[in-house]
Amino acid sequence: MKKIINDPSTVVVDSLRGMAVAHPDLLRITYDPAVVARANAPVSGKVGIVSGGGSGHEPLHGGFVGLGMLDAAVPGAVFTSPTPDAIQAAIQTVDAGAGVLLLVKNYTGDVLNFETAAELAEADGTTVRSVVIDDDVAVKDSTYTAGRRGVGGTVLLEKLVGAAAERGDDLDKLDQLAQRVVGTVRSMGMALAAPTVPHVGVPSFDLADDEMEVGIGIHGEPGRERVPLESAEQIVTRLVDAVVTDLPFESGDRVLLFTNSMGGTPLVELYLAHGIAEGLLASRGITVARRLVGPYITSLEMQGMSITLLRLDDELIDLWDAPVHTAALRWGV
């Protein structure tokens, strides 16, 4: 295993310490329990927005803490959802009396731990709501299964809900907005090479030089299928078709196109893929009104990409364009 680390068992805390000194004006970070909070939390009168999950997806979630996005992020161990006490600590840190909204990616561990934390916080008298995001179309949904995973759509959800909270929306409105976003965002990912989890030491899956994984998640779990390596044109077409036909997105729709790197895929390839995706959407009569291109929700150093589409309306566009100041996303301020 080749990584710039000291000890696999302290990677998350060691990394958080670096993040804390890198963004002293922006973040206030505690380590036991691990919570990345806005330096000025709690923001009086404002609903607190909290998300979190296993580490290894940076900049998600800690990189999205700040004005116009999250009030706090709760980083678990690598690929391990955080524990209820840490989540509860985050809730307390951001609670300004207006309630707290939890944005939870749909994984059994995340759902159960956030659920427990919410119960504990409610018992302490904090009003808590939870919205679960499950935008991964690679996983067939069903009430009998764990359901779809929360992936790329999470980044957009955090930005949009964060902006609405910043403008003063109350907990009910934010809860409704979050559910509306979840209902209109879809994603699909693929990988060329597996990541290596520090405490595991070997790649999460083994892939031949002429193979790729399609329908991959962000935890190094294998995808839905393993197929022969394809050209960028073929890869992006696979992803866009799967995403578009699922919601479905239709001719005339205005969308936000998020072309995401899983970590190890460099910008030169990502822009290339993004261009192909815009062409495919144009040919379907879908208007790309906003874009995000870069490594925003990753799986350690995994080589691969994902495509996320969000159907936009005027309100969502305003919320997307609203000022944001976080370590990973910043504009308008």
């Binding site: 161990a77 690929f79 959802s81 405490h199 935890h219």
Partner: protein, 208 residues
């Protein structure tokens, strides 16, 4: 002949050692159809418990199991943390503040643990989860009890059934947990949580 506080602490400490000894095996099982953290997370949780139990020195078997529950919930994370944590929470509640565990109380505690896992995780037998090890374990323990077995006998029956139940997850296609994302590709692999459940019951049986 029942089992007092000391005995329960000894049994759970033995279980902690077994988890550490099988840490890599559980990581590897989870790497193949999950995200590779099951062994590391359980090891961290049980080792924290070993330290905590000596410091806190709980007075009753129920208090010991309750301490294990809160420790697992606050240190394991992932799916297994809340699931095993809730299992222990329910087990502790069923034990109450009795000074000793009887064979009957042991079976009742196992049943409570299973109800906790199912209440949290909503998994049914055949979903390829720890439920596939715990469900037959509870039934076997019950049968052993009816045949007059002592605590050791009850737990051995549970452990044997859990081993079979875990092995039976291999051909299954996962419907719950991370392995479910693999769809058909999850078949042919042993479920890590079912394996850890079997390992834990075996450790308890051997030290009872």
């Amino acid at each position: 002949m029942g089992c007092g506080t000391e005995g329960v602490i000894a049994a759970l400490t033995a279980a902690a050692d077994v988890v550490s000894a099988h840490r890599d095996e559980l990581v590897e099982l989870d790497r193949v159809i999950g995200d590779g953290d099951h062994g590391e997370n359980l090891r961290r949780g049980f080792q924290t418990f070993v330290v905590a139990v000596t410091r806190a020195a709980p007075a009753t078997p129920g208090a010991v199991v309750k301490l294990l529950a809160s420790t697992l919930i606050s240190t394991v994370g992932g799916a297994a943390g809340p699931l095993y944590g809730t299992a222990c929470l329910r087990a502790a509640a069923s034990i109450g503040d009795a000074p000793e565990l009887t064979p009957t109380a042991t079976v009742t505690a196992l049943r409570a643990a299973l109800s906790g896992v199912v209440a949290r995780g909503k998994a049914e037998p055949g979903d390829k989860t720890m439920v596939d090890a715990l469900t037959p374990a509870v039934e076997a323990a019950q049968k052993a009890l009816e045949n007059g077995a002592d605590i050791h006998g009850v737990l051995v029956a549970a452990a044997d059934a859990a081993d079979d139940g875990a092995a039976a997850t291999i051909p299954l296609v996962a419907r719950k947990g991370r392995a479910s994302y693999l769809g058909e590709r999850s078949a042919g692999h042993l479920d890590p949580g079912a394996r850890s459940t079997a390992l834990l019951l075996r450790a308890l049986a051997e030290s009872a």
